[in-house]
């Protein structure tokens, strides 16, 4: 292959991490520009790769020119090309957004913070691009280790939350590694393409079954799928603003990607849905995940915490969609990876802006917030509308495909769970609007004139602008749904079903 874009996209942030450490030691203020530049390079490379995939089909890249089964292979097909663009672009925007917020929250640790920041992005991009099962484990742990540190930066309550996250994250990764070991025993290879070719003849093997189960379980722990979702909420809530904005949209979504990759590329839908046929149990679990996530979100008094439980519910969307066992569901799940990454990013960025101004996000601070921070709330409203699933935001379209998939598969409970979650999101949204309009929930006689003359106190432009870009993207993704589906997801679906 002539172009080096696939490796450039990984190398740029990796090398930047070294430079940030070196230069940032003496000149901390340089660390932010270096991070942004490296992520920009990464974004441009990923867009270039995306265009190549669109015009020429799936691409392969052999690291160090070692051929496939021996060396590590990068495979970029339709499934991950768009994910790579999403990761790099969201990361770039969050990096821009992070500047003021990190300066405020962690003024004396700029260099350390941005080093870890770009390393995390390296890990996430690597997970998505690699075609090697063991390489994936290593990158998974790189991403995990950096995210532990990024969360623990906040001190205080985040430490204990991170410790739990470390325990659960390690268990997840170990399960994955163990599962890969089982597959390795049976096949003698770690290359995913190679694995899938050999596994075709091994469908009856118990060891392969155990390997599959372990890998999927590991990923479920990593993505905080019900019932192993407990670690997520606290870890994300108490993390520094910028860390949540980066980790919440991308980390769990990448785990979902790995699950779908294993289900469709390493194994086959034939194996997962026809041979095993316990996918309906998983869909039921997904329904419960959505219900539990929504209920927990509803009962929170703190906006950020409430959002973290919405993430748990959204994971249920994607796992359920992927396991419905029909093209519509898989389409919905894949599309929702992109849509949800943008949605979560938008919401957490808006929440971050509020934290920047108020220091916390208990629901009572939302009083008069629309007048105080109109731009922030504009982004929040768009994000929330997408969560509810109001057209033309992208959240509507993923819900559309997931519900069609549920109907096609006859999984009515999944459909009801999706609708329930939409309604709960609507309630959460309007509760905040209500507080914005009427003041705190408890007060019996809200006074409309009380907050008429509140001056506009918006978060800095460097935070608001990236958020608004993401909010615009929510509508943009929604409008271009049919293109995304037909160009990117359809080839994948037709190859797997």
């Amino acid at each position: 292959m002539s172009t080096q874009a696939p490796v450039l996209m990984i190398i740029a942030p990796l090398i930047a991490s070294i430079f940030i450490t070196l230069i940032g030691w003496f000149r901390p203020k340089f660390s932010h520009p270096i991070a942004v530049i490296s992520l920009l390079i990464s974004s441009i490379a990923s867009i270039q790769v995306f265009q190549m995939v669109l015009s020429n089909g799936p691409q392969q890249y052999f690291l160090g020119n070692w051929p496939a089964p021996f060396g590590i292979e990068y495979v970029i097909d339709h499934l991950n090309s768009l994910l790579l663009v999403t990761i790099s672009v969201v990361a770039t925007l969050v990096a821009l957004y992070a500047k003021r917020s990190v300066e405020k929250e962690l003024p004396d640790k700029l260099a350390n913070y941005y080093t870890l920041f770009v390393l995390l992005v390296t890990g996430l991009l690597g997970i998505s691009i690699t075609g090697d099962a063991f390489n994936l484990y290593v990158l998974l742990e790189i991403a995990a280790l950096t995210s532990y540190a990024l969360i623990a930066f906040a001190k205080g309550r985040s430490l204990m939350a991170t410790f739990n996250y470390v325990m659960m994250g390690s268990i997840g990764a170990c399960f994955y590694l163990l599962g890969v070991g089982y597959l390795f025993i049976k096949t003698g290879t770690l290359n995913m393409t190679n694995l899938s070719q050999i596994l075709v003849s091994l469908h009856m093997s118990q060891a392969v079954l155990v390997g599959f189960v372990l890998i999927i379980l590991g990923m479920w722990v990593k993505m905080a799928f019900f019932p192993v979702h407990g670690w997520l909420s606290n870890a994300y809530t108490y993390a520094p603003t910028a860390s949540t904005c980066l980790i919440a949209p991308l980390m769990t979504k990448v785990s979902v990607y790995v699950m779908i990759r294993v289900m469709t590329s390493v194994f086959s839908t034939e194996y997962v849905f026809n041979h095993l046929s316990w996918h309906l149990v998983v869909v039921a679990m997904a329904s419960v995940a959505i219900l539990v996530g929504s209920m927990m979100a509803l009962s929170q008094r703190d906006l950020k915490k409430c959002m973290t439980y919405l993430v748990v519910a959204e994971i249920g969307y994607m796992v359920g969609g992927a396991w419905l066992g029909n093209p519509a569901g898989m389409t919905g799940a894949t599309y929702h990876i992109i849509a949800d990454a943008a949605m979560t990013a938008c919401l957490f960025m808006a929440v971050g802006c509020i934290i920047y101004k108020h220091g916390h996000t208990s629901l009572d601070t939302m009083k008069g917030i629309f007048r105080k921070m109109p731009l922030t709330m504009l982004g929040f409203v768009v994000g929330m509308l997408s969560m509810i699933g109001v057209p033309p935001t992208c959240g509507f379209f993923s819900k559309w495909y997931l519900i069609s998939g549920a109907i096609e598969a006859g999984q009515w409970h999944f459909m009801l769970a999706l609708l329930f979650s939409s309604l709960v999101n609507a309630i959460i949204f309007f509760r905040i609007i209500e507080i914005g309009f009427f003041g705190s929930l408890g007060s019996e006689t809200p006074d409309p004139h009380e907050h008429q003359d509140v001056a506009v106190k918006e978060a800095p432009l460097s935070m608001v602008l990236p958020m608004l870009v993401v909010a615009g993207a929510l509508i943009g993704i929604g409008i271009y749904t049919s293109d995304i589906i037909s160009l990117v997801i359809q080839p994948l679906i037709s190859a797997t079903f």
Binding site: S404, F438, E444
Partner: protein, 485 residues
């Protein structure tokens, strides 16, 4: 070249300009509304000849799913509805000025901007060529009217607006959306067509469930038991109640139901199965119950609200009998009821501005102090009851003809009973306002008519009610073109 997208974006542009102009230059701010309304009305008139010649303008903006676009068309029914919405927006804006300024309401910029967005959404619903586009604008309308309902920002407004959104969003997401996805899954299309989209192969049980999902899913149409958002939303300022809850929002509800019944199910399917009867029964129950409840209300606006619930059921009932004349009549009734009900709301608001009174029991003898207002009120009530010489008579006449055409005599009985109830809850108000001895009158000489901007609009729409009795040819032509040709 006039175009549905252009027309609805004029209102959006107006909203934007209103926000830009802001609170300080209020005359300039309000003039945007009138300019936009004028241009839109002109545009609609430009579209009229083509539609009357039987052309249907179609325009697809964007493809979203296979076979589903964000698409618009200008069909007779949609045009008729757009005429009503835009046409009544202009007097309502005038009225808003007369209502909001004397009462020194806060946040008027937000108010007028949301109003413009709501009109834009209404026009969008009117011109939607498929269910998906309709749903999109339907949701936009729910969201953009929320700040209007919550306008006062006090405890009562909180209750009302909470109910408003719970009912509207809850039903549209919980019922209408799955129904829409089901239809798409079964047929692969959502485009309205006179023959319906189902063809043959849908089981009766599925048809009935879809019918129920759609009827209750579009809760803006106020069918019981999903009606109680409407009286709740009466906490809004009166101009809002007038336009949105007598014209735009509720009519969008029935418009959507009519579109689904005629364009998704198709009249033939309705007439040829039990679906028609089921829909008729649901509508009839709402019709009678709402009229009975209206009798018991003392707050004038609440009485009007329950009257609206009943009249909306008329429209759905007219369509549900599934005869050509019935459907035409229900389309006509959308227009007639709009003029009548908006007049009544205008009068209620004018009374409130002039006297500060909200309750019917406080209005004895008011006719002598506010003769013009009460005259308009009288004409409006006649139209809603369906007595000549008002437009309401025409549409009710055809409604009954439609029911007879479909051999549903019991529906005729329902119509008549309800009309008597309508008379029973409206006429006493007028009677006691005009004919009472001076001792009984609660008003001595101190009360005057409301200021002119609040007085002219009800007189305008009241004369509209009268004129429609004589000049309803174009409207009827549109309704005829819309069904059966």
């Amino acid at each position: 070249m006039w175009h549905p997208v252009l027309i609805l974006s004029i209102a959006l542009a107006a909203a934007f300009l209103i926000l830009l102009t802001g609170e300080r230059r209020e005359n300039l701010r309000e003039s945007w509304t009138f300019i936009a309304g004028g241009i839109m009305l002109y545009g609609l008139f430009q579209l009229l000849p083509g539609v009357l010649n039987g052309q249907i303008l179609r325009h697809s903006v964007l493809n979203v799913f296979p076979n589903v676009d964000i698409a618009f068309w200008v069909d007779p029914f949609g045009l008729l509805f757009a005429f009503i919405a835009v046409g009544l927006w202009i007097p309502t804006s005038l009225y808003s000025i007369g209502y909001m300024r004397p009462l020194k309401e806060h946040a008027q910029t937000r108010y007028f901007a949301c109003f413009a967005i709501a009109i834009s959404a209404t026009v969008g619903v009117a011109f939607s060529a498929n269910l998906f586009t309709l749903y999109l604008f339907y949701e936009l309308l729910s969201l953009s009217t929320y700040p209007l309902v919550a306008h006062h920002q006090d405890a009562q407004a909180r209750e009302g607006s909470r109910k408003y959104l719970t009912y509207l969003l809850g039903t549209s997401i919980g019922l209408a959306l799955p129904a829409m996805i089901l239809v798409y899954g079964l047929t692969g299309t959502l485009t309205f067509s006179e023959m319906g989209v189902f063809g043959g192969g849908i089981s009766a049980g599925l048809q009935v469930s879809l019918l129920l999902l759609f009827l209750f899913g579009f809760a803006k149409s106020g069918l019981m038991p999903f009606h109680s958002w409407l009286p709740g939303a009466m906490v809004a300022p009166t101009p809002v109640s007038a336009l949105l809850h007598a014209v735009a929002v509720v009519k969008v509800g029935v418009f959507s139901v009519l579109r689904v019944l005629t364009g998704i199910f198709g009249i033939d399917l309705l007439a040829g199965s039990h679906l028609s009867t089921i829909a008729c029964i649901i509508a009839s129950i709402t019709l009678i119950t709402a009229s009975l409840i209206a009798l018991t209300q003392d707050s004038l606006k609440r009485r009007l609200a329950f009257s609206t619930v009943g009249q909306l059921a008329y429209i759905i009932l007219g369509c549900s009998v599934a005869s050509i004349v019935g459907v035409q009549a229900s389309m006509l009734h959308i227009a007639m009821h709009a003029f009548g009900k908006i007049t009544l709301f205008f009068c209620a608001g004018a009374i409130f501005v002039a006297t500060g009174k909200k309750y019917i029991s406080q209005m004895v003898g008011l006719g002598k102090q506010m003769p013009w207002t009460m005259l308009a009120f009288f004409i409006g009530s006649l139209s809603v009851i369906g007595l000549p010489p008002t437009g309401g008579f025409i549409s009710k006449w055809y409604l009954i003809m439609g029911a007879l055409d479909a051999d549903k005599v019991w529906v005729v009985v329902v119509y008549l009973v309800s009309s008597i109830l309508n008379a029973a809850y409206f006429l006493p108000i007028v009677y006691r306002a005009f004919f009472c001895s001076d001792e009984d009158s609660q008003y001595k000489d101190e009360v005057k008519e409301a200021p002119l901007p609040a007085l002219i609009p009800p007189l305008l729409t009241a004369s509209g009610c009268l004129l429609l009795f004589y000049y309803h040819d174009t409207l009827f032509k549109l309704a005829q073109l819309a069904v059966g040709g």
